[in-house]
């Protein structure tokens, strides 16, 4: 309590002091109407101020000054200012105006000044409607700071009933919205009203610049105070069809610290009475069509999670391994994959990634956020465009099938609130041919394996080149290759026989005698050639000692094959003759049948012999 009073008196002193210094500067601009709405329904304080500023001086003004007390400026996560024109349905908002920190010479030390650059100068007598949105994180203080499991969490919020401004304000009002329709205590100033879940301060008229009336609101808030001390988001792009996002959280419950013991029995029996300040679930809104979602930590997979998906987003509800009470920490990792075509685009000669910056978890304050974007190997980063200030740097990462490494863009920011979940872009160049590098690397790897096999089969690793076993093996290899060639020749002979048989069948079908005779002629010449080829092979086999076993079989095969050949030739001549003489079919049949049977038998024997030779 004493510390609170000290803060406020200091501020009051500085406020009165600064009034003396700044009266000259701010005599021109006047705020005619100001409405402030402070939303305390979550642990991030969101203040929306809509004001109408008029230029009563002679000069045109191009900047608007906004001071903040130092303790608020430290926790200022977001400040956006827009110009609003029209009312109600015809409201038109401009883009967010550029804001920068300035240091006026006469400023008292505990104020931080923000200067908003107006797009057009505000001329003499002109007026402008501005809307200022401020998000403050880590500014609510739990009071009492330590509570037991059965207590409710009480929060203190301190601010001023009048807005701290270097300009005179003609009329202003403040509305404070509480999370629940009850309040412990609040500062009662003039014109204060409490109804429902809102406290109204105002309207206050004709306030001089730098009026500051401290107020404090002490209220119950059991909303989850989720703060991530550190979050690392890694976004890995693969042009084969997936954007993989991996987020590692280290969360803490930043509300009132729990005092004494935690009784699981009491918590499970009456969770609303014994554990009102704790939270169990966290909801994350992932983009639509997210797949392969996982939720794990150092121990392993955490199964207490649910996913609901529709066409606009995927809702992930996760429940940490224990309920989070004040001061308790938990760490976990969430990962999910996203389809490429929703986030990767091609424009001009460049590709760019368009993806939200912050965390998908609802209402999360992040103290240190690091976003790493890993681009595929062979891409060249050209630029990064983020709608707010971040710290950029570059890294390299080696991942699957990488040779040189993938380029990584690292963006860091502190004090991030959900309003920072805006889309940002990373522009880079990548040629489609580089995509082939990965499969070609695999193909080359397999080819090396095969080349190794070929080399092994051809290599000769015997130590002694003149030992008898080695020489015997060499000779056996030669015999084997000769036999293979011999088999090839025999197979070719058999093919010729088959051709002759086929020509006879053709004759019986079509009656074309000339074709039959021509086939016979070609068969004869082919067989003669094959016989010539056979001679050197057989002579080699006869000369080599290793082939002693096989030689008789080979010779038998040659003899049988010769017989077969003769018989087939005989049959062929008979049939052709009878066609020539035009004798009856019965006659031909009689002559041929006996031959036919012998041919079939011989063919069978030849095939058997070929098989036995094969087996050796």
């Amino acid at each position: 309590m004493a510390r609170m009073r000290f803060d406020l008196t200091l501020l009051l002193l500085f406020a009165f002091g600064s009034f003396l210094f700044f009266s000259a500067v701010s005599a021109d601009l006047v705020i005619s109407k100001l409405d402030r709405r402070i939303d305390l329904s979550s642990h991030i304080v969101r203040a929306t101020t809509s004001l109408k500023v008029e230029n009563n001086g002679a000069e045109a003004i191009s900047e608007f000054l906004l001071p903040f007390p130092e303790h608020q400026a430290k926790n200022l996560a977001l400040l956006t200012v827009i110009i609003v024109e029209g009312k109600g349905k015809s409201k038109v908002s401009s883009e967010s105006l550029p804001v920068r920190i300035v240091n006026p010479k006469d400023s008292p030390p505990s104020l931080v000044w923000y200067s908003i650059t107006l797009p057009k100068e505000l001329g003499k007598g002109g007026s402008l409607n501005l809307e200022i949105k401020v998000a403050l994180s880590n500014i609510l203080r739990p009071f009492p700071e330590k509570i037991t499991q059965a207590d409710v969490q009480l929060i203190v919020f301190q601010d001023s009933a009048q807005v701290l401004s270097p300009y005179a304000v003609h009329m202003q009002s403040l509305t404070v919205k509480l999370p629940e329709p009850k309040v412990e205590s609040y500062t009662k100033l003039e014109n204060t009203k409490f109804s429902g879940s809102e406290i109204k301060y105002g309207p206050y008229e004709n306030q001089p610049p730098f009026t500051y009336t401290p107020l404090a609101v002490h209220y119950v808030s059991n909303k989850p105070f989720v703060v991530a001390r550190e979050l690392v988001r890694e976004i890995e792009i693969s042009h084969w069809g997936n954007v993989q996002v991996t987020e590692s959280y280290s969360l803490v419950h930043a509300g009132a610290v729990i005092l004494g013991e935690f009784s699981r029995l009491e918590y499970q029996a009456q969770p609303h009475l014994r554990g009102a300040s704790a939270f169990r679930h966290l909801i994350a809104k992932l983009p639509a069509r997210a797949h392969s979602i996982y939720y794990r930590d150092d121990i392993g997979n955490i199964s207490t999670s649910n996913v609901w998906g529709d066409s606009s987003m995927t809702l992930l509800q996760i429940e940490p391994r224990f309920p989070m009470f004040g001061g308790w920490k938990t760490t976990f990792t969430i990962g999910y994959g996203l389809p490429l075509k929703d986030f990767l685009f091609k424009s001009g000669g460049e590709r760019f990634l368009n993806i939200p910056f912050g965390s998908p978890i609802d209402d999360l304050v992040i103290d240190n956020l690091t976003v790493k974007i890993v681009l595929p190997e062979g891409s060249k980063i050209t630029s990064v465009s983020v709608p707010f200030s971040v710290k950029q740097s570059k890294q390299e990462k080696i991942s699957h099938l990488d040779v040189v490494g993938r380029p990584v863009v690292v963006l860091e920011k502190t004090n991030v609130v959900p309003e920072h979940s805006q889309y940002f872009q990373v522009y880079y160049k990548f040629s489609n041919l580089s995509l082939l590098q990965e499969p070609l690397m695999l193909v080359f790897g397999y080819f090396l394996l095969f080349v190794a096999c070929i080399a092994y089969v051809r290599a000769d690793f015997t130590i002694s080149k003149s030992s008898p076993s080695y020489l015997a093996k060499l000779q056996w290899d030669e015999v084997r290759s000769t036999i293979q060639q011999f088999e090839g020749v025999v197979n070719q002979c058999l093919i010729v026989h088959d051709k002759l048989q086929a020509s006879l069948r053709d004759l019986s079908r079509t009656g074309d005698l000339q074709a039959c005779k021509a086939a016979r002629k070609t068969a004869d010449s082919t067989l003669k050639e094959l016989l010539k080829d056979l001679k050197p092979l057989i002579s080699f086999l006869q000369s080599s000692p290793q082939a002693a076993q096989i030689l008789p079989k080979v010779e038998e095969l040659v003899a049988k094959e010769k017989e077969l050949q003769e018989k087939i030739m005989q049959k062929h001549s008979i049939v052709v003759e009878s066609y020539d003489k035009k004798s009856g079919i019965k006659d031909t049949e009689n002559r041929v049948t006996a031959l036919e049977q012998k041919i079939v038998l011989l063919r069978q024997e030849v095939d058997d012999l070929v098989d036995t030779i094969d087996e050796i």
Binding site: W240, G337, K346, E438, V443, Y446, F450, I454, R480
Partner: protein, 78 residues
């Protein structure tokens, strides 16, 4: 005014990955087996380097692409 913005997607539709992986790997394994049969049955002077190299080139092409699509189909987006 602004250059046209087109979404990028994978060169091969993602739904085909498992089928492609299966067929390419099976063809690759068939060609590999024919390579090894040739190696085992031929001997000495009969081996032709051209036939060996061509068979192994075809086999390694199919095996390489097949294993790439196998990796992609099982979720390792390389």
């Amino acid at each position: 005014m602004a250059p046209s913005v087109k979404p990028i997607s994978s060169p091969v539709p993602i739904e085909w990955y498992p089928t492609l992986a299966f067929f390419m790997l099976s063809i690759g394994l068939v060609v590999t087996s024919s390579f090894f049969i040739y190696e085992a049955t031929s001997s000495g002077k009969n081996r032709s380097l051209a036939k060996e190299l061509s068979t192994s080139a075809v086999a390694s092409f199919f095996l390489g692409f097949g294993s790439l699509f196998l990796l992609l189909a099982s979720g390792v987006y390389v």
